[in-house]
């Protein structure tokens, strides 16, 4: 490959980056934000089909980030007393009871041919593969025949969906766009972080977020949300929630690789007879340009409290400024018309 080709490709990349600064697919979000030669974009793939609702992620997040306690309430609505993401909850495990056959969510991970003792012996030898299976290394998908029949005797009609929600670290992040102080910024990893020494608590990011993630701490006044453990990323560690997740429902890694892994996982679930499995937030063509933290869900997003088709509000900002300019001109014209006659 010649230098010329490389240069032309870089130019094409630059063009793509500039063409989608506010909405649409953005190939390199860190470079678009001005980082020179950034590391790969990092993110989460939360595979809710293997979430067991243990809330270790919530606890690990609170512990690592020293997030204050925010009320101990029993909601009575489900096993979810955390209720939702907020200034003091950066991971939230949703817990949904549904009248659907349990067999429908059989994740298709047959473990009978896995020797756990052999795996345990290998723990010390290869630390990387012990917690995070490589994309191709997982055991082959369970054929449809292995999945439990849909209406077996003795099974209830109830299924539980559990899903660990988190800041989506949007490609086009409304919170970041509207922040008037520059407190919210794009890190070199492509994540979105609040600089707490800059935030003046204007609260604009709160209604701007299409997912209802970021919020203001009432006593403190500033806005807080998941940082994707920026401090841990900086020294090459994975975020606390992913580290703590016992089932690898929360997978951390390079976004490109996570997307491949997720596509393979959905295909496996479909093959295993779980047609409801779908990815949420992985599409770079969606209203926020794709999420840095995306999900595998087993029902419609709104069932989990997620918006079905979120759009970054700043996509419409140029139109808003145009309309405001026209309105300002109208107002000036109106005042001139008011004075147009002779003084009485």
């Amino acid at each position: 490959m010649t230098d010329g080709t490389t240069a032309r490709r870089a130019d094409a990349d630059d063009e793509a980056i500039r063409a989608h600064l506010f909405s649409g697919p953005q190939p390199d979000v860190a470079r678009a934000a001005g980082h020179i030669d950034p590391p790969p974009r990092m993110g989460f793939f939360t595979d809710t089909s293997v979430c067991i609702g243990c809330k270790a992620c919530e606890v690990a997040c609170k512990e690592w980030n020293a997030i204050p306690e925010d009320g101990l309430e029993l909601t009575g609505m489900s096993y979810d007393n955390t209720q939702g993401l907020g200034s003091d909850t950066w991971r939230h495990v949703a817990f949904i009871e549904q009248r659907k056959p349990l067999g429908g969510q059989e994740p298709g991970t047959g473990h009978e041919h896995v020797d756990v003792f052999a795996a345990a012996r290998g723990l010390g030898a290869s630390p990387a593969s012990a917690t995070t299976p490589a994309p191709g290394a997982a055991p082959p998908g369970a054929p449809a025949g292995e999945v439990s029949p849909l209406t077996p005797d003795g099974r209830t009609e109830l299924r539980w969906l559990m899903s660990s929600d988190v800041c989506k670290h949007c490609t086009h992040a409304a919170c970041l766009d509207v922040c008037p102080t520059g407190s919210l910024f794009r890190t070199e990893f492509g994540t979105v972080v609040v600089q707490q020494d800059v935030c003046n608590g204007c609260g604009y990011c709160v209604p701007a977020c299409p997912y209802g993630v970021i919020d203001q701490r009432p006593d403190d006044g500033r806005a807080w949300k998941c940082t994707l453990c920026y401090d841990r990323l900086g020294v090459g560690m994975e975020p606390a929630c992913a580290k703590a997740c016992p089932t690898d429902s929360i997978q951390f890694g390079e976004l490109e690789e996570l997307r491949e892994r997720a596509a393979a996982r959905v295909a496996r679930l479909h093959a295993a007879g779980v047609p409801d499995a779908r990815l949420y937030g992985e599409d770079p063509g969606d209203g926020v340009g794709g999420d840095g933290a995306f999900f595998l869900l087993l029902d419609e997003p709104e069932v989990y409290g997620l918006p079905p088709d979120p759009v970054v509000t700043t996509r419409d900002l140029p139109a808003m400024w145009r309309h405001a300019a026209a309105a300002a001109v109208s107002m000036a014209a109106l005042a001139v018309a008011g004075f147009a006659r002779r003084p009485r």
Partner: protein, 338 residues
């Protein structure tokens, strides 16, 4: 009631289910509501909102929307009054603009979670943030109105006062209309969906407020422009508001219900009535002009508070987030499976 035969989410006696179609449903009631979108069933997570409600305080931010408009329109009337030899109009409008924008700044700083850091608003210049641009705008505009008012009161440094009045009038329409972009540039359905018309609603509402102040405080002989501004402003506000409601779809519903609905009905009555009174009898007696002016001021304030509360209500109910997005998605990709 066996699993395979029961459609998902079919009500079967348990109330904790949150499957498809388990969301809250609301009956439409009250007058002034039109069926803009057919009733749709939707799912939600135990009826909890998808969005966070704005943390802004109504008195501070809705108050600022009103006062910013009042200041902007007053600056225009001040410049016009000065240019056409209406000293009483110019004086009232200059003092009104300076007072309103000073109160605005106080409200904005008071609303901050960290008021001592208000100056951080000016540490960057960021066109993607309407609040940042607004801060720069106010940083330029507020001192001009203060200079205009101070020279008016002092009766000295007249050239500086004239220059400040004229410069403030140049920035004034932007001050009055950018606030529409400020609230529309959010995910709040009843604000964002009105983003095309909201600047015109705010421009009209600002004009009626500024004219209202002049009508209430200025001798009748000099209020001719204010009366015409009131009439034109009311027409712009009410016209743009009607168009906005029609185009917003489901997100228009919160504008007609609850506290927001009451405020907005009051706003329409006060604005229309005030403008009619100003045009009809405002030129004859001081009393009628004062009543008309007060009604216009109250109408403008009610509009801003009504729109503020409608936005908050739309953020607090998942229906306004989920249903339009679901319809949009299905229009694009066909009905959802499952």
């Amino acid at each position: 009631m066996n699993g395979a035969g029961t459609p998902p989410g079919e009500p079967t006696g348990r109330d904790a289910l949150t499957g498809a179609h388990a969301g809250r449903r609301r009956r439409r009631r009250g007058r002034g509501e039109r069926a803009m979108v057919p009733e749709a069933e939707f799912s939600s997570y135990y009826g909890r909102p998808v969005l966070h409600r704005p943390t802004w305080k109504a008195v501070d931010i809705a108050g600022y929307l009103f006062l910013g408009g009042l200041a902007g329109a007053s600056s225009l009337l001040a410049a016009g009054g000065e240019a056409t030899g209406r000293p009483a109009l110019a004086r009232t409008a200059k003092l009104g603009a300076a007072g309103a924008i000073t109160l605005s700044l106080a409200a904005l700083v008071h609303d901050l979670g960290r008021p001592a850091r208000f100056v951080n608003m000016l540490r960057v210049f960021k066109p993607t943030s309407p609040m940042n641009l607004g801060s720069w705008l106010l940083a330029g505009y507020a001192p001009l109105t203060l200079v205009a008012a101070a020279t008016e009161v002092a009766g000295r440094y007249r050239p500086a006062g004239v220059a400040a009045t004229a410069s403030a009038a140049v920035l004034a329409p932007a001050v009055a209309t950018y606030t529409a972009v400020l609230i529309c540039d959010t995910a709040v359905p009843s604000w964002h969906e009105g983003h095309r018309e909201m600047p015109f609603v705010f421009a009209g509402s600002a004009a009626t407020a500024g004219a209202g102040l002049a009508l209430a405080c200025v001798p009748v002989a000099q209020t001719g422009p204010a009366r015409r501004t009131a009439l034109l402003g009311a027409a712009l506000e009410l016209g743009a508001f009607a168009v906005m409601r029609r185009r917003m779809g489901l997100a228009a519903e919160p504008l007609g219900t609850g506290r927001a609905g009451r405020l907005l009905r009051a706003a329409e009555l006060l604005t229309a009535g005030g403008a009619a009174l100003a045009a009809g009898a405002g030129g004859r007696g001081r009393g009628a002009a004062a009543v008309a002016g007060t009604a216009l001021l109250a109408g403008s304030a009610a509009l801003r508070f009504g729109i503020f509360h409608a936005g908050v209500a739309s953020a607090e109910d998942p229906r306004y987030t989920v249903i339009p997005q679901r319809l949009r998605l299905e229009a694009r990709t066909g009905p959802a499976g499952g």
